[in-house]
C-alpha cells in the first residue's frame, strides 16, 4: 500500500510541476490542481497508512490507541481540500479575465515572438 500511495503522490506532483511550468494558463491551473491532489494524499499519508482502523473514538468503549487511525491528518486534509478548491476557483476566474482582456491564454498575456 505504501508503495502505491508513494508512486501516486510522485506521479501527481511530478505531472503537476511539469504543467505548472508550461506557458498556457489552462496548463498552469491543471498543474496546480494536480499538485494539490498530491499534497492532499501526502498529508493523509503522514498520519501513517492504516487499513480498517476508525479515526473516531467510540464513547464508552475500552480505548486502545493502537486500534485507531490518526484523525488529525484527516481533519487537516479536509481543510486543505476546501481551501484548495476555493483558490482553484478563484484562479480560474482570473484566468478567464486574463483571456478576455488580452485575447491570449499565454501566462504573460501575449504570445512570444
Amino acid at each position: 500500500m505504501e508503495l502505491i500511495v508513494a508512486i501516486a503522490i510522485g506521479v501527481l506532483t511530478g505531472s503537476g510541476v511539469w504543467l505548472l511550468l508550461r506557458p498556457r494558463t489552462f496548463q498552469v491551473i491543471v498543474g496546480l490542481s494536480l499538485i494539490g491532489y498530491g499534497v492532499n494524499l501526502f498529508i493523509f499519508s503522514m498520519g501513517r497508512l492504516r487499513a480498517n482502523a476508525p479515526p473516531v473514538l467510540q464513547a464508552g468503549a475500552v480505548l486502545n490507541p493502537a486500534d485507531h487511525a490518526d484523525p488529525i491528518p484527516q481533519a487537516l486534509v479536509l481543510t486543505a481540500i476546501v481551501i484548495g478548491f476555493a483558490t482553484t476557483a478563484l484562479f480560474l476566474v482570473v484566468l478567464l479575465v486574463s483571456r478576455g482582456l488580452t485575447g491570449s491564454d499565454h501566462v504573460d498575456g501575449r504570445e512570444p515572438n
Partner: protein
C-alpha cells in the same frame, strides 16, 4: 475569564465581523461602507495598542516573560488551537493597524470606488494578518495565511486592467505553489513529531531520534521555502516588484506588511523550534538565511538602481528591506534581532508611505519624462481614467512643495540617513553586528558579517542615488500645464506615516528598550513554551469535561 482576557481574539473577530457585514450592503452605498471600514480599522488600532501595553506591562511587573495565552474553544494547549500574545505579535498587530489605517484613509479619496468589495477584502486581509501574528498553531497559521492570501488575490486585482490581471495571475500562481509547499512542510513536521502546536513542537524537537532528524529538517526547510517566497528572498522574489508596482497604491501600501509576515514567521519559528534549546538541530537554516538575505540585499539594490518607474523602485526597496531582515535572523544574535525589529517598523512605515506618495507624484510627472510609463500605457487601456472623474474634497495648497518634502523624507528614510528613523534602525543593526557583546579584545567579527555590513551601507547608497535621480526627474524637470490636484485626504496618510517615522526616531530610546526586551524573550523561548503549555482552561458551565 474576565472581559479583558477576550481582547486577544478581538483583532481577528472584529475585521471578520466588519468584513462579513460589509458584504450585505449594496455596492453603491460608498459612504456607509467607508465609515464602517474606517471605524473597524480605528477600533483595531485601539485594541492593538491596548494589547501592546498589556504585553509590555505583563513582563515589566513579574520579571519573567509572561505571554497571554487564549485557548480557543477552551481546550488546553497541545490539543486545542491557542492564540498567543507576546511582545512580537503585539508589535506586529500595532504595525498592521497603523499601516491599514493610512492605506484605508488614502483609498477613500478615490480608489475604494474602483472595483467591488474593496472594503470587505481589506477587512478580511486584516483578519488574516492579525490571525497569522497571533496564532500558536502551525496548521492554524496555514489557514490564516490562506485567508490573507485569498483577500490579497482580490485586492491585487482591484481596479482591474490587463497589467493588473497579468501581475495578479503571476502572483496567484506563485502563492498557490508556495501554499502547497507550506502544507508539505507542515505535514512532514507533523509526521515526525506528532504535534502542530508551536510550543509543543519546541519541546519535542530536541527529543527527535537521530534517524528522523533528516525528515524533520526536510520538513522545516520546505516550510521555510514557503515563507521565503512570501518574504521575497532571492531567488524566490522575482514576482514581488511586478505584483506590487501593478497594484493600486493603497493596496501596495498594505501589501508591504505581507512580506513582513514571512519575516515574522521565520523569526518566530527559527528561534522557537531551532533556537538555543533545540539540541542537535539548533541553529538550523541560519546560514541559509544569512547568505540568502545578503543575496537579496544585493539583488534589491541593483534593482533599485535599474528601476525606471518609481513604483518598481519601491518594489525593489521592499526586497532590500526583506533581505536585511532575513540576514539579521541568520545572525541569530539577540542584539541584532532587536535592531532588525526597529528597522522593520521603520522600513514598513516608510515603504508604505512611499507607495502612497508615488501615486500622487506620478500625477506631477510629465509622461514624456518616463519612457517606461509611456510603454506601459501603450499596453494597457488606461485604468486610471474611469476613477479619475468625480473628485471631491479639499485640494492642498503648495502641492509641489509638500510632495517634494515628503519625497525627500522617503529618500532619507530608505537610504537610512539621519535625522529620521531609518538611520536609527540601520545604526542599531550595524552596531550590534560589528561590536558583539560581551565586548572583549579576542572577539573577532566574522568575514560574512563584514560583507553584510558593506552590503547594508551600499544598499543605502543605491537607494539614495535612485531616489535622488527619480526626484530630479519628477520635480526639477520642466512641467507643462497645471500643477496636479492632490486632496488633503490623500496627502494626510503619507504625512501621518512619515511623522510616525520621526516620532519613533525621537522616542528611539524607549522603543529600542521594547525591541530589546522582545528580542531577549525570543532568544530564550522556554518562557513562551512554559506559558503556552501551562495555560489552564477556564472552568465553567460549558467546560468540555462531558466530552
Amino acid at each position: 475569564m474576565e472581559a479583558a482576557g477576550h481582547l486577544i481574539v478581538m483583532p481577528i473577530v472584529l475585521p471578520l465581523a466588519a468584513g462579513a457585514f460589509l458584504l450585505l450592503l449594496d455596492e453603491r452605498r460608498h459612504v456607509i461602507k467607508a465609515v464602517i471600514s474606517i471605524m473597524s480599522t480605528l477600533a483595531l488600532m485601539v485594541v492593538a495598542i491596548a494589547l501592546l501595553g498589556s504585553a509590555d506591562n505583563a513582563t515589566a511587573s513579574s520579571g519573567a516573560a509572561t505571554n497571554s495565552v487564549y485557548l480557543l474553544g477552551n481546550w488546553p494547549a497541545p490539543f486545542g488551537i491557542v492564540l498567543v500574545l507576546d511582545r512580537l505579535s503585539a508589535l506586529m498587530l500595532v504595525l498592521t493597524s497603523v499601516l491599514a489605517l493610512a492605506s484605508l484613509a488614502f483609498s477613500l479619496a478615490r480608489w475604494h470606488k474602483a472595483g467591488p468589495h474593496f472594503h470587505t477584502l481589506f477587512q478580511l486581509l486584516l483578519m488574516g494578518l492579525n490571525g497569522a501574528f497571533l496564532t500558536g498553531d502551525l496548521f492554524n497559521l496555514f489557514v490564516f495565511f490562506e485567508v490573507l492570501l485569498a483577500a490579497s488575490y482580490g485586492l491585487v486585482l482591484h481596479g482591474s486592467g490587463p497589467l493588473r490581471v497579468k501581475a495578479g495571475l503571476h502572483y496567484i500562481a506563485v502563492n498557490l505553489a508556495a501554499s502547497s509547499l507550506f502544507l508539505i512542510g507542515v505535514s512532514l513536521i507533523y509526521g515526525v513529531t506528532g504535534t502542530l502546536n508551536m510550543a509543543d513542537l519546541a519541546q519535542r524537537i530536541p527529543a527527535v531520534p537521530a534517524q528522523d532528524r533528516m525528515l524533520l529538517e526536510a520538513g522545516a526547510a520546505v516550510l521555510g521555502i514557503a515563507f521565503l517566497v512570501k518574504a521575497g528572498m532571492w531567488p524566490l522574489g522575482f514576482w514581488l516588484p511586478g505584483a506590487y508596482s501593478a497594484a493600486a497604491a493603497p493596496v501596495a501600501a498594505i501589501f508591504v506588511i505581507l512580506t513582513k509576515v514571512g519575516f515574522y514567521v521565520l523569526l518566530r519559528l527559527s528561534l522557537l523550534l531551532f533556537g538555543v534549546d533545540a539540541g542537535a538541530t539548533a541553529g538550523f537554516g541560519d546560514a541559509w538565511l544569512l547568505f540568502g538575505g545578503m543575496a537579496t540585499i544585493a539583488f534589491g539594490a541593483i534593482g533599485v538602481l535599474a528601476s525606471q518607474a518609481v513604483s518598481r523602485l519601491a518594489g525593489f526597496s521592499i526586497l532590500v528591506s526583506s533581505g536585511t531582515l532575513l540576514a539579521a535572523i541568520g545572525m541569530a544574535d539577540a542584539r541584532v534581532t532587536a535592531g532588525a525589529l526597529f528597522y522593520m517598523v521603520s522600513s514598513t512605515l516608510t515603504i508604505g508611505a512611499f507607495f502612497l506618495l508615488i501615486e500622487l507624484v506620478e500625477r506631477v510627472q510629465d509622461p514624456a519624462a518616463n519612457v517606461l510609463s509611456v510603454t506601459m500605457e501603450a499596453y494597457s487601456d488606461d485604468t486610471q481614467e474611469d476613477v479619475a472623474d468625480e473628485e471631491v474634497g479639499v485640494a492642498i495648497p503648495g502641492t509641489l512643495a509638500v510632495l517634494g518634502i515628503c519625497f525627500a523624507a522617503c529618500g532619507l528614510l530608505l537610504a537610512g540617513l539621519p535625522p529620521l528613523s531609518g538611520f536609527v534602525g540601520k545604526f542599531a543593526l550595524l552596531t550590534a553586528m560589528v561590536r558583539p557583546e560581551p565586548v572583549a579584545d579576542g572577539v573577532v567579527v566574522a568575514g560574512s558579517t563584514w560583507v553584510l555590513v558593506a552590503l547594508l551601507i551600499l544598499s543605502g547608497l543605491c537607494a539614495l542615488i535612485a531616489t535622488m535621480r527619480a526626484g530630479m526627474q519628477i520635480f526639477w524637470a520642466p512641467i507643462e500645464g497645471t500643477v496636479p490636484r492632490v486632496l488633503l485626504l490623500e496627502i494626510a496618510p503619507v504625512a501621518f506615516l512619515l511623522t510616525l517615522c520621526l516620532v519613533i526616531a525621537v522616542q528611539g530610546g524607549q522603543i529600542m528598550r521594547y525591541m530589546e526586551a522582545t528580542a531577549q524573550a525570543l532568544h530564550s523561548p522556554s518562557g513562551y513554551v512554559r506559558d503556552v503549555l501551562s495555560a489552564q482552561p477556564t472552568p465553567g458551565p460549558n467546560a468540555p469535561s462531558d466530552k
